[in-house]
């Protein structure tokens, strides 16, 4: 991290006019100058959207993953739909999302979309990681496929799912910001970023980006910690 700042400093110091790529000092100064009123409100808006997007994206991913578990034939189809949601550029789906969901929810929808596929693939991979003998155990005591899912597969998948959930964090935030960037919203990092860019305030642009990065980092670390708490067995026998 320190290294990164160092490189940044060196870069901005030496080569480029500071009017376009600010030094770390300028960025920090800009953060202090804008203050809590600015960042508090904008990040709160973005976080709320990213949070909802995260929840929705993950819920849908889990529902589809569960569906695949019950009807394994659907796997190909479900992941193909995942691919579909993930391979279209935002410039293409942005207007559509705005029309379908309304401008206010579009940031949430985009955020959910970016989260969805990562989690879906993580969940599908994880749900296959239960061992044969663990599944047999359920069968012999009269459990059905659904019991296997509940008692074994979900928990066996938990480490993989937690990784997916971790990776989904920056996705969720990015989605929310891009959604805000597209329009229809008054408060949020994406809006502030767009405005700052137009107003030629590179200090603020980079400050906002930095804040975003830090938020992602915190979220990523947080999910990591939760994951470790949730799966204490992962480092134990690990068959």
């Amino acid at each position: 991290m320190l290294l990164l700042i160092g490189v940044w400093w060196g870069f901005t110091y030496s080569s480029v006019s500071t009017s376009s790529f600010p030094t770390p000092v300028a960025v920090v100064r800009s953060i202090i100058a804008d203050g809590w009123g600015f960042y508090g409100r904008n990040t709160a808006g973005t976080l709320a959207r990213a949070g909802w997007g995260y929840v929705w994206g993950n819920c849908i991913a889990f529902m589809l993953a569960a569906l695949v578990l019950v009807v394994p034939k659907l796997e190909e189809l479900v992941s193909q739909i995942g691919v579909l949601t993930n391979c279209l550029p935002i410039t293409a789906i942005g207007p559509l999302v705005m029309v379908i969901f309304g401008s206010r929810v579009s940031a949430i929808a985009l955020s959910a979309m970016l989260v969805f596929f990562t989690t879906l693939v993580g969940a599908l991979t994880g749900l296959k990681s239960a061992s044969r003998s663990q599944l047999d155990l359920i069968v012999v005591y009269g459990g059905n496929a659904w019991t296997q899912v509940r008692k074994v597969r979900i928990l066996a998948a938990l480490p993989a799912i937690m990784t997916a959930l971790q990776v989904a964090i920056p996705g969720a935030i990015l989605g929310a910001i891009v959604g805000e960037y597209l329009g229809g919203i008054d408060t949020g990092i994406g809006v502030a970023l767009n405005a700052a860019q137009r107003q030629v305030q590179p200090d603020r642009v980079w400050a906002l980006s930095l804040v975003t990065g830090i938020i992602s980092l915190l979220g990523y670390a947080l999910v990591g910690v939760i994951g470790r708490l949730l799966t204490p067995w992962a480092k134990e026998i690990n068959r």
């Binding site: 155990l137 012999v140 005591y141 009269g142 459990g143 008692k151 938990l158 067995w233 026998i237």
Partner: protein, 297 residues
């Protein structure tokens, strides 16, 4: 089904157990394995015949042990009996019901060769799992079973925090938790010291006598097999085949003292001899050669 399974055994099976007055409800249809074959796909288009024409019949409520050299197909037979694997041919019935692959036999308890505990569950919750699946909870029973296998104090430990033997004991407790009418045990005491093993042997006998549980146990301990069984089936290898089934005619309940009787020793010696003769021809104790690999087109 009136067809009687052909047994490649010297003895015939049945009447002596049925004579036991206290177990009048036991029928002759406890376990019935007829012409069982299992061929595994062994990769690169090859096939491997693990067992061939296995036949075995035991009355309801009987305790049957299955012994044989390592790799002869004991676990394979057991997994087919449990409905976990599909036989290549042949049929299997348990307590009067036909075993269908993928369908659990009602009232079955099973301990696999590997303990297969769920790593995220505590000992207690691992043992309670079958009850949970079947929708009835019974905390008291679980507690009793934990004490029975000597795991009191470790209720909340996870499998990763247990020793090998402790894991195996948890797996036995789990098999017993459902009050099974049909019990399958695959080398249940292999990782236990003699003391613990003997204790659990006798507890198993007590439980079996109380509940008239039809039981099939795979084991490597000949003494253990004689101590517990009504019948001991001996398998030969490559491909696995039940060569004989010997009724053990020692009165119940058997105790530690039983193990020093002449009758007991006679059975142990006889079975050792048999096992020896199916295991190999070499006097120095060379094991069954696993090299006669049957490759079929």
């Amino acid at each position: 089904m009136t067809h009687h399974p052909r047994l490649d055994s010297e003895e015939t099976v049945g009447s002596d157990v049925l004579d036991r007055g206290d177990e009048a409800d036991r029928g002759v249809d406890g376990i019935r394995i007829v012409h069982l074959d299992k061929v595994f796909a062994a990769g690169r288009g090859q096939e491997f015949q693990a067992i061939r024409d296995v036949n075995l019949a035991a009355p309801r409520g009987a305790f049957v042990s299955l012994i044989g050299p390592s790799g002869c197909g004991k676990s394979t037979v057991l997994r087919i009996l449990a409905g976990l694997d599909r036989a290549t041919s042949g049929s299997v019935m348990v307590n009067g019901e036909r075993v269908e692959p993928g369908h659990a036999t009602a009232g079955m308890g099973i301990a696999f060769q590997d303990p297969a505990l769920l790593p995220w569950r505590s000992v207690e919750r691992n043992i309670a799992l079958p009850l949970e699946i079947q929708g009835h909870k019974n905390d008291a029973a679980v507690r009793d079973l934990i004490a029975l296998v000597g795991l009191a104090g470790f209720e909340r430990s996870r499998p990763g925090q247990l020793s090998g033997g402790m894991r195996q004991r948890a797996s036995i407790a789990r098999a017993l938790s459902v009050n099974p009418r049909f019990l399958l045990l695959d080398e249940p005491f292999g990782a236990l010291d003699d003391m613990t093993r003997r204790h659990l042997n006798l507890e198993l006998q007590r439980i079996w006598m109380q509940r008239a549980t039809t039981t099939l146990m795979v084991t490597h301990g000949i003494a253990e097999a004689v101590l517990l069984s009504d019948y001991v089936a001996v398998m030969s290898a490559h491909p696995g085949h039940v060569v004989t089934m010997i009724p053990i005619d020692i009165p119940r309940p058997r105790t530690v003292q039983t193990m020093s009787t002449d009758a007991f020793h006679a059975y142990v010696d006889r079975l050792s001899g048999m096992l020896f003769s199916v295991s190999g021809e070499d006097r120095d104790g060379k094991p069954a050669s696993d090299s006669g690999r049957a490759v079929q087109p």
